[in-house]
């Protein structure tokens, strides 16, 4: 108000802005995107201060909060980058020894499938046909022959674009008929942000911490029953392997969830971007689609399902390309037409990302020149992740006041930290959630940026959760984990 008054006296005219917090779309105000929220902003500020030469108790800020593998030093797959470079600048195809023949052939095939033989042309809104066909073939191979229709495949700008689009279709109604969407707690903040933006009702279902963050049908039932009193539950979102919890759902559990969705008439949204990131013994990735079809026509012909994948995670870590796809199963034909129309508003997803997705679903095969290098890189990356998952669990569980469930998959650990009462008091005085206060303090003292669990929906009294990626290189990760250990011991002592 003071600013406005100032302006009035400057100009002699009263001119409040057209777009203010009061006139802004009210649903936008509800949006908080924790993964890039206040703690990350502070981390960026600290980075800037460090670069300006301001002294800190640490020499670098480590952003251990976001699933960005290559930012943490993971190397891209050579073959993928070679093909993309060739697609970008086809003159390179004429060079003799720089690129292997199979990379050149793949680049030629991809370019042929693009308008004007260029990555720079628009593709059809649903994605390049040739790529969608390859995606369909991949899904069929992955799911042991369960058929996949390329017409059900949409290439998206990362998985988040696909998820938001499907949610847009699902959200409708007023008051008690307003769409409710079930999301798992702890959750990945993209979902709550999207639901807030769409004005949908968020229905929380809690994962079972004591059973390694598995889904619990009783809990799902509780959540949906309670929700029916104030909204119309229409969708159930699952992240498998989970983010941030890393749990890999068992096949039985997935069957139970499918039965539940069928019974409660819920549209299933399966976020499967971490499908190659499975580390724990005895754990295996089961795609929702495969399980659905193996349950027979009673389910496979009725349950509506959208599953999502992306180039950002797994062993690729190519977040910057914004490549992704979704497969829609049993969607009503009229709704599908609307979906096709909705994606056309985005014109098309980034073509380099589509090209990359093609390579991901159709990588080098045994016998091809690039195969050995490819398989070596892929194996190295995935086994490094597995090693780091175990290491994280091991070190964190040696700290009194920290307990960490096994990291079965994905890219994060989600340890539970005990926060002393005095610290909780100080946090509340500062108007912060205790785990935010803990993370902020850790950031200021060590330069390590973690995301507090309250950004993920969990709320406990003297326990908080933090999300920490397992992505830094193993020696750096070891140092990091030990720093966290030291910090926690210091913090506990300071506030005892």
């Amino acid at each position: 108000l003071a600013n406005r008054v100032e302006k009035m006296s400057e100009n002699g005219i009263s001119r409040p802005k057209v777009l203010t917090l009061d006139t802004m779309n009210p649903t936008v105000k509800m949006v908080e995107y924790a993964v890039r929220g206040p703690i990350v902003q502070r981390a960026v500020e600290l980075e800037k201060e460090l670069s300006e030469g301001i002294e800190k108790p640490f020499t670098e800020v480590i952003k251990a909060n976001i699933g960005d593998a290559q930012a943490m030093g993971q190397q891209p797959i050579t073959f993928f980058r070679q093909v993309l470079a060739l697609c970008s600048y086809p003159e390179l195809l004429n060079l003799d020894n720089t690129f292997p023949e199979d990379a050149k052939n793949r680049a030629r095939l991809i370019l042929q499938s693009c308008g004007g033989s260029s990555l720079g042309a628009y593709s059809p809104s649903q994605g390049i046909d040739y790529v969608r066909q390859d995606v369909a073939n991949y899904i069929e191979r992955r799911d042991g022959g369960v058929p996949c229709d390329p017409d059900n495949i949409y290439l998206t700008t990362g998985a988040s674009d696909g998820i938001t689009t499907i949610l847009k279709l699902l959200v409708c109604g007023q008051g008690i008929d307003r769409t409710g969407v079930m999301i798992s707690i702890p959750q990945y903040p993209l979902y709550s942000a999207a639901l807030a933006e769409l004005g949908a009702v968020q229905i929380n279902y809690f994962l079972n911490e004591d059973n390694c963050w598995s889904m619990d049908i009783q809990e799902l039932q509780r959540a949906v029953n309670e929700a029916r009193q104030h909204c119309h539950p229409r969708a159930l979102c699952i992240i498998n392997p989970g983010n941030p919890t890393g749990q890999v759902q068992s096949r039985d559990c997935i069957e139970d969830v499918i039965r539940f969705a069928a019974k409660e008439r819920l549209f299933l949204m399966a976020d499967e971007v971490y499908q190659d990131n499975v580390y724990a013994e005895g754990c295996k990735f089961h795609s929702f689609k495969k399980v659905l079809f193996e349950m027979g026509p009673e389910y496979s012909e009725t349950v509506e399902l959208a599953s999502f994948h992306s180039t950002s995670k797994c062993y690729m870590g190519e977040c910057g390309f914004r490549g992704g796809y979704m497969e829609v199963i049993n969607m009503d034909d009229d709704v599908k037409s609307q979906l096709t129309k909705l994606v056309s508003v985005r014109l098309c997803s980034p073509v380099p990302g589509q090209a990359l997705m093609d390579l991901v679903v159709n990588p080098p095969q045994p016998g091809e020149p690039s195969y050995n290098c490819f398989i070596k890189e892929r194996t190295a990356t995935l086994s490094a992740l597995a090693e780091k998952a175990k290491l994280t669990e091991k070190i964190l569980n040696t700290v009194p006041g920290i307990r960490c469930n096994p990291v079965q998959g994905a890219m994060y650990s989600f340890p539970c930290i005990t926060i002393p009462d005095k610290a909780i008091k100080e946090a509340l005085e500062k108007g912060q959630q205790p785990d935010m206060f803990y993370c902020m303090t850790m950031l200021e003292e060590t330069g390590i940026c973690l995301v507090p669990g309250s950004g993920f929906g969990q709320k406990r009294i003297n326990e908080g959760f933090v999300v920490m990626t397992i992505l830094p290189p193993i020696d750096k990760l070891t140092i990091l984990l030990n720093k966290v250990k030291e910090f926690h011991q210091r913090f506990t002592k300071q506030y005892s």
């Binding site: 802004m24 628009y122 390309f321 073509v351």
Partner: protein, 447 residues
């Protein structure tokens, strides 16, 4: 993509071998080669091993190294923060300053997105109340490309059309804006005015005076200005110049320059770059409430622009300069394109002006010709029988006869009783001839 395309795909009888797609503003889709410099930089960023070879000019390597050094982990594969790769944001800011004079805008007021339409939808999302009794409205031009309208509708907003004046070269007329706004107040809560300059599909370029009038109107009527300037590098007429809304706004001084809220959009999809598939666009915000900008940050941070698109924007904003090793080639390629399009524009006017029943306003800029077609009563009748708009029917016949794929005016909006067609200027001249010949044939044979 359009109804026409769907009809075609269903198996219309085809006396030709392939579709000549003259429909879209897609330069590279039409066969125009990308700029070498962009693609060399992109390849080097994708596969940095190329930086060690002597295959690439030094300025390419320097640019690639600079961009990669500011990517997390030195890789294009990482997420980028808002507003984007810092170098790109700085380059865009400096580009704006060079174009408009004045100080470079703060990079905090520039948001990079996967294409300009994505940025536009994010800004609309801030402006538009899509539920409840009173929905927000945006004044949109007729004719207008359909993406923005659909984007607005998908947010629950209302589009209120204002007609561009065909008889006056498709210029924007204040009387009509006023009429539209008065009407808008009855059906919605008007909150913004959307202007496309240079236009799409009509190829008019707004005069400075017209821009001043619009700015005055926006201040007086309290409207947020959304200005789509993606074709700013596509100006062909000799006595016509593109001037940005921002520049005019700044030159008008207070109260306009520090009050009128403006979002201007640009993209790497059009102009000399034509990198539509890379999805690189940005919006510059002027005079936006700082509290609202914080929310803009949240919205934009969910979907940052893909790194290849950001690289394209880097070249758009900071192309090779005189003295750089890549400059001669860059200059030659851009000149070639400019020459070709200018020749196309001349040819379009020559051909269309000589055809009976077709008239075309001067194409001053943009990527399309948008001639008016007078259809005889027989054609109107036939179209009605087939349950089609007359210009859709015309386009379908053209497609069937010659394989030339153009789009009908009804998809962009037009005055009742008038019919138009949209051709892209980005193609080989020969295709214009094909379309022209077939137009005559159709007219003679069918109508």
């Amino acid at each position: 993509m359009t109804k026409l395309h769907c009809i075609f795909m269903q198996g219309v009888k085809k006396p030709f071998r392939e579709v000549i797609d003259v429909a879209w503003g897609d330069a590279q889709g039409a066969g125009i080669k990308p700029l070498t410099f962009v693609r060399q930089v992109l390849a080097a960023c994708l596969y940095p091993q190329l930086l060690d070879s002597n295959r690439l000019p030094t300025d390419v390597k320097q640019k690639a190294r600079g961009l990669l050094s500011e990517c997390h982990g030195g890789s294009m594969g990482s997420y980028t923060d808002l507003p984007g790769i810092p170098q790109v944001a700085r380059e865009i800011s400096e580009y704006i300053a060079r174009r408009d004079g004045g100080d470079p805008p703060k990079t905090g007021n520039i948001f990079i997105s996967p294409g300009s339409q994505w940025a536009l939808q994010n800004i609309l999302n801030l402006l538009v109340h899509g539920h409840g009794e009173v929905r927000s409205g945006v004044l949109t031009p007729i004719p207008c490309h359909v993406t923005t309208i659909e984007s607005l509708h998908s947010l629950g907003g209302v589009s209120v059309p204002y007609y561009l004046s065909e008889e006056h070269g498709w210029e924007l007329q204040m009387e009509e804006l006023n009429r539209a706004l008065e009407y808008a107040k009855q059906v919605c809560a008007p909150v913004a005015l959307y202007v496309v300059n240079p236009g799409n599909p009509p190829g008019h370029v707004q005069s400075k005076k017209s821009i001043q009038d619009v700015i005055r109107f926006a201040l007086e009527k309290r409207l947020f200005l959304l200005v789509d300037e993606v074709y700013q590098d596509c100006v062909y007429a000799d006595n016509v110049e593109f001037v940005s809304y921002k520049k005019v706004l700044a030159e008008m001084g207070p109260p306009f320059s520090d009050t009128v809220e403006l979002a201007s959009f640009h993209s790497a999809s059009k102009g000399f770059l034509g990198e539509a598939g890379l999805r690189g666009g940005y919006v510059e915000l002027v005079n936006m409430d700082p509290d609202v900008i914080k929310y803009a940050c949240t919205i934009f941070s969910k979907d940052t622009a893909p790194t290849p698109g950001q690289i394209a924007l880097s070249v758009l904003a900071n192309p090779p300069r005189l003295g750089d090793p890549s400059y001669p080639l860059y200059e030659m390629e851009t000149q070639q394109m400019q020459t070709m399009i200018k020749a196309n524009v001349r040819r379009v006017h020559e051909v269309l002006d000589s055809l009976p029943g077709i008239s075309c306003q001067p194409v001053e800029g943009g990527a399309f010709a948008f001639p008016r077609v007078d259809l005889p009563p027989k054609a109107l009748q036939k179209a009605k029988e087939m349950g089609m708009e007359p210009d859709t029917f015309y386009c379908l016949r053209l497609l069937e006869e010659s394989g030339a794929f153009i789009t009908p005016g009804c998809e962009y909006g037009q005055k009742e009783g008038t019919y138009h067609i949209r051709y892209t200027l980005l193609n080989d001249i020969m295709l214009m001839e094909v379309c022209a010949i077939n137009h005559i044939l159709i007219n003679c044979r069918h109508f």
